[in-house]
């Protein structure tokens, strides 16, 4: 479970005051709101990225543990963004192995795991391809697999479908929700389009103060 308590974010011209947000395992909470309200900043704060221009106070708990003081790499929170962010200097296989690096297992086992994952999304032939050689939909699938490969306890989705066309958007959305349901972890989705939302929606404009 992911819990956010007593959150105050002070921006230059406005602030967000959120008493409490809770996301259960297997649930996807959707955050919406006008551009510039602070959706992505909130996501980055949860991830652990320093926000030098914003004053932020609040508590963040993951499975009961206060992770607010931990660096990004210790929080075990995954991230998928609109830009996909597959490392361009690594092949698809290397991207997945990079994410797997902290897991136990010998080389053969790790390569087997990657092969299975690529089989599951019908991208086995693309193991040695570079991200620039993938279509938008293929890259989006690999990005989600990579985020899950490090076995995070929660995942953040920052407008992951907004760069996709209408048809592909539905396909990738369905793939994402199916995969996340199987992974059974709390997830937060930031989007402008409420049609993306699979469950509860929180509009940050309800927490907006001048």
């Amino acid at each position: 479970m992911l819990e956010i308590n007593h959150l105050t974010m002070v921006f230059k011209y406005h602030q967000l005051v959120i008493p409490s947000l809770t996301v259960s395992a297997g649930e996807v909470l959707t955050l919406t709101g006008a551009s510039g309200i602070g959706k992505s900043s909130l996501l980055q704060w949860i991830l652990g990225v320093p926000q030098p221009d914003i004053t932020i106070e609040g508590q963040i708990k993951l499975n009961g543990e206060d992770v607010g003081a931990l660096p990004i790499e210790s929080r075990q929170i995954g991230l998928v963004t609109q830009q996909v962010d597959l490392f361009p200097h690594m092949t698809v296989e290397q991207n997945l192995l990079f994410a797997l690096a902290t897991k136990q297992g010998d080389d053969a086992a790790r390569h087997d795991w990657v092969k299975q994952e690529l089989d599951s999304v019908a991208l086995t032939d693309y193991a040695t391809a570079y991200p620039t050689e993938l279509s938008g939909g293929q890259a989006a699938r690999i990005a989600l697999l990579r985020s899950l490969a490090s076995a995070p306890k929660s995942i953040l989705l920052d407008e992951p479908f907004s760069a996709l066309d209408v048809k592909l958007r539905k396909t990738i959305r369905d793939f994402t929700w199916t995969t996340l349901t199987a992974a059974s972890m709390p997830a937060i989705l930031v989007t402008h389009d409420v049609q993306d939302a699979p469950g509860n929606i929180v509009n940050l404009e309800d927490y907006y103060y001048d």
Binding site: L47, E73, R75, L79, F87, A101, T102
Partner: protein
Amino acid sequence: MISRMVRVAIALLWLILPLGVVLWQSTTASFEGALSDAFRALSGSALLTFAVTLITSLIVLFGALGLARGKRLSATWASFIAVPHVAFAIGLLWLVSPSGWLVRIVDALLPMWQGPLQSSWLSSKSAFTLMVVLVLKELPFLILMTQANVQQMPVLRWQQQAQALGYSRRRFWWLIVVPALLRRIRLPLYIIAIYTVSVVDIPLLVGPNAPALLAQAVFELNWQFTSNTQGLVHWGSLLLVLVAIVTLVVLRVVEWVLQRWLSSLAASGKRTPVAQTTGKRAGLPWFWAGLAVIIFMSLLLQSVQQSWFYPSLWPQGWQWSRWLAEWPYIAPLLYNTWILAVLSATLAWLSAVALLEVQAQRQQHQLHVGWLAMLMVPQLVLVLGWQQTIGPDSGLIGLLWSHTVFCFPYAYLTLHGAYHAYPRRWLWQARSLGYGPWAAWFKVLAPMLKRPLALAWAMAFSISVAQYLPTQWLAPVTHPTLTTEAVSIASGGDWRLGSVYALAQWASVWIVFMLALWGTRARN
């Protein structure tokens, strides 16, 4: 608090201490008389320096503004900028001298020509030759800086708007883009002006002697260890600062006048359509690339020729053994040059990367002029201050310090754009996958920025190789380098031998740049 103290300490070491020492020595020097006497002795040099600097800076400014109208940055500029000034000057002089290669080509093409040229303007040592060398060498730097700034502006959208309003591309460039550019290229222009005020090695090779440029005059006075000349040296170096300040003020006034004039032209609403000229500029980088190749060839031929009489286009006699005969002298210089350049480039590169990383983490993306302050003070004054502080032959440590100080701003400048354009979200991704900040930097950022990182190191290396004044004043006996020897030999008039050392200097830089480019070629 700690970072502020570090900054103050660095500023003290880099700037305040050497400048303070020079100022203190000036006021307490036993020179009979005062500033007025020094001014009388050096006023001719000061005026000449002011004129050369102002003319060079203005030609470079208007040249860059007129020639930078391209959308793409060309790597040719960067590779040309790395050509050492000394090698360039030695090679160019043979090309443009009254009996040089260019005149011989004209002679061969025009049978009625009565050569060689009788012109004091193109003599091997004149203010005009000096300005030609400086303009040709500095113009690509400002063009590159101008194009880098153009890329950060929505020029294409502005152009569409202006053309829709009936303005030609040329008029749009001068009325809309140039006013926005002037403020942005102020810093590199000032760097060029300060460099011109303070440069010593190029005037020693191609500058006039009576009067000499102020920096050269002070440099030569500093070798005479009488109390009178030492007083002159200190006052002269302060005069150099004064010339630099006046030049910058005049350049600022020129910018202000130009801004006002262009604003009034824009407000007039006049549209004067002209023919499209964009195609003409596609070959511009190739002019400089061709020039570099010709100069390189000229050095190569000079280094192996035994006799080459006018008007022959090729040498009549060859002396291949010159390289072999010189090798025992060149080898230790190569060793000194490379050790010094590798160490100082590495220190400067590490400092620049550390600074850029801290700035990126704090989202301070602006180029901070404070970190380029050592380029905004005449080098001669800084090095004189260090010489007075740590002694005239301070060994490798003092030399390493001085080279690192001058390599650092170029490493910082070269890497600044790419480092701040790098999306930090790649690092967040790596860290969200469980990697610490160091691991994320080495496994994700470094491989993706390997070429700018390598080129920044290569640029720092080339700056160290080209240093003349710091080497000559801080460790002339213990650590002579290719540059100091090339200047000594060529300024003595032996261009053939000078070409050997200039080529060795150029080759050192070229090898490092080629390795940087080849080692970081993209796989996909």
